[in-house]
């Protein structure tokens, strides 16, 4: 565990040691703010809980993009700068490397969500909303982001460059997003499976409405662990692949 935290701490520091971390934070806040004003608040009158539901819906898109951008560099950048060898030749397992890097991205992502909390809080000025709905919505965003970070981390473990990792990661996320569409033209039992696998449609909407289903939490945790384990295997395979 100490090695995981050690790697996570270094990686987390790296986000803030360069402009990239601040840039991602600023861009996320700017675009979230714009989306909140344009779509969530809108021009017509709305119930406060609908404003919040819309906010979480639009934020989920932002979250997926941010998660891919945060995670695409995690391993690919180390390959590009030849620093991965430090981890590969230290008495550290591939699982510790992957989880350490994942936790750093998740922690930064947590900061991202934390600083955006002022947006739903604005609804308190003119409306009445439940804190529980905000908390549930943010839990959904965190879980969705965690799954996307794991997916992009796997892509990063395959790639030599960050751009390539970002592209592959984004493609994988999109593919998992649209499985519910594929489900429409598929027969059972594949249909049910496709619906279930969709990254957003079935599982996220409940969070944005303030409803917490255990099965959705399990789904996002499952996706996260599955892709992280794939990344572990991908890193392990490097020694026999070459």
């Amino acid at each position: 565990m100490s090695k995981i935290l050690l790697i996570a701490r270094r990686e987390f520091g790296a986000y803030f040691a360069t402009f990239s971390g601040y840039l991602i934070l600023a861009a996320y806040l700017l675009i979230s703010g714009l989306l909140f004003n344009i779509y969530a608040l809108g021009r017509e009158a709305k119930f406060s809980q609908d404003v919040l539901a819309d906010y979480f819906y639009y934020s989920s898109g932002m979250v997926m993009v941010a998660a891919v951008i945060l995670a695409m560099r995690l391993i690919a950048e180390e390959r590009q700068t030849h620093t991965l060898v430090l981890l590969q030749t230290a008495p550290v397992t591939e699982r510790e490397v992957v989880w350490g890097k994942f936790l750093s991205a998740l922690a930064f992502f947590g900061v991202l969500l934390l600083v955006s909390l002022y947006l739903p809080a604005l609804v308190f000025i003119n409306g009445k909303i439940s804190v529980l709905q905000i908390m549930t919505g943010y839990l959904g965003l965190l879980l969705l982001g965690s799954a996307c970070i794991a997916i992009a981390l796997l892509a990063s473990s395959w790639s030599q460059s960050q751009l390539m990792a970002g592209t592959i990661g984004a493609l994988m996320v999109v593919l998992l997003l649209i499985t519910w569409m594929i489900a429409r033209i598929t027969d059972e039992p594949l249909k049910g499976l496709m619906y279930y696998l969709a990254l957003h449609n079935l599982h996220f909407r409940t969070f944005s409405r303030g409803t917490l289903h255990f099965r959705d939490v399990i789904y996002y945790c499952g996706v996260t662990i599955f892709f992280l384990e794939c990344a572990v295997r991908s890193l392990e395979s490097r020694v026999w692949r070459e």
Partner: protein, 316 residues
């Protein structure tokens, strides 16, 4: 401390290492020398756990790098050709990280960092970011991270590549100071560079170990060895019979062009004396058809000369 047995490595169809074996004892400094693509980096990558051998075994202090990779990695410090430095970190923070990564308890970390900084002459740049350091300092940081946890074995891949002459002297002194405390295996494509530091040299060429030992031993062995190449019409048994009076000579006989049933055979004889006249006379008197007899300059001699002159071109 390091034991390599029949190590073979293929990259796809290309053979990078071919049955390499050597042993390095505790406290020794040994140099791996060879031209570009000779297999030096491949050996170091296998020893450091970055690659699996196709065949053979490599052990670090009794731990197999294949079966007990983590335990073997705990016993090494490794400096690759390009030092693995995080540009945004300061020297001391980076060393602190490297130290903890190698499992040094946190209460000992500060002490180790101070020692490593002092030992490698990094005091004046300790608070500087790694990305802003000159090449020589970056190399020193690379060595510092490789020794900070006091590993029994230190592996250095081309530690003096692309350094200026003053930096080379500094890094050479630094490596020399590791003697007795660590077992050091380092690679270079310049023989003279290695012989100034190492007691022992392992000479690699195209993935095979051509010679190993002290430089003077290798040199005298190579310079005194001659190789005669023969093309004979006759049988290998007859040739052995005819040349039997020469006594115990090193001879390899094979069918010409590798074709079985060929009436021509080629033979290669390695000796320390000039026996061309004797061999020629014996073959003719023995009724063998002597089609060709020539002395070949030993391939290794060329290699040694190239390496001595630093003609190994770019590092591998």
């Amino acid at each position: 401390m390091i034991e390599v047995t029949e190590l073979t490595k293929y990259y796809g169809a290309r053979r990078a290492l071919d049955r390499c074996s050597f042993r390095i004892g505790q406290g020794e400094i040994v140099g791996l020398v060879g031209k570009n693509g000779a297999g030096k980096t491949t050996i170091l990558k296998i020893l450091s756990g970055q690659l699996l051998p196709t065949e053979g075994q490599a052990m670090i202090d009794g731990q197999s790098v294949e079966d007990n990779s983590i335990a073997a990695r705990a016993k090494i410090g490794y400096l690759p050709e390009i030092p693995p430095l995080y540009g945004e970190m300061t020297v001391s923070n980076y060393l602190r990280f490297a130290c903890r990564l190698r499992g040094v308890p946190s209460e000992q970390t500060e002490n180790r960092v101070i020692k490593a900084v002092y030992y490698t002459g990094l005091k004046e740049v300790a608070t500087q970011r790694l990305g802003t350091l000159a090449k020589g300092y970056q190399q020193r940081v690379g060595i510092a991270q490789a020794i900070i946890h006091s590993p029994p074995v230190v592996l250095l891949d081309e530690p003096m590549a692309s350094l200026d002459p003053i930096q080379i002297v500094q890094i050479r002194d630094l490596i020399l100071s590791l003697k007795n405390q660590h077992t050091v295996l380092f690679s270079s494509h310049i023989l003279s560079e290695v012989t100034q530091i190492c007691e022992r040299v392992i000479l690699l060429d195209e993935g095979t170990i051509k010679a190993q030992g002290r430089e003077d031993e290798i040199r005298s062995e190579l310079l005194h060895r001659r190789r005669l190449s023969l093309l004979i019409r006759g049988t290998s048994d007859r040739l052995k019979e005819v040349l039997a009076p020469l006594g115990n000579i090193e001879m390899v006989i094979e069918p010409f062009d590798g074709r079985k049933g060929s009436e021509l055979i080629s033979a290669s004889i390695t000796t320390e004396q000039d026996i061309r006249e004797q061999v020629g006379r014996m073959c003719v008197e023995g009724g063998l058809g002597l089609l060709e007899l020539r002395e070949e300059r030993h391939g290794l001699e060329h290699l040694m000369l190239q390496l001595l002159e630093g003609g190994g071109s770019e590092p591998s």
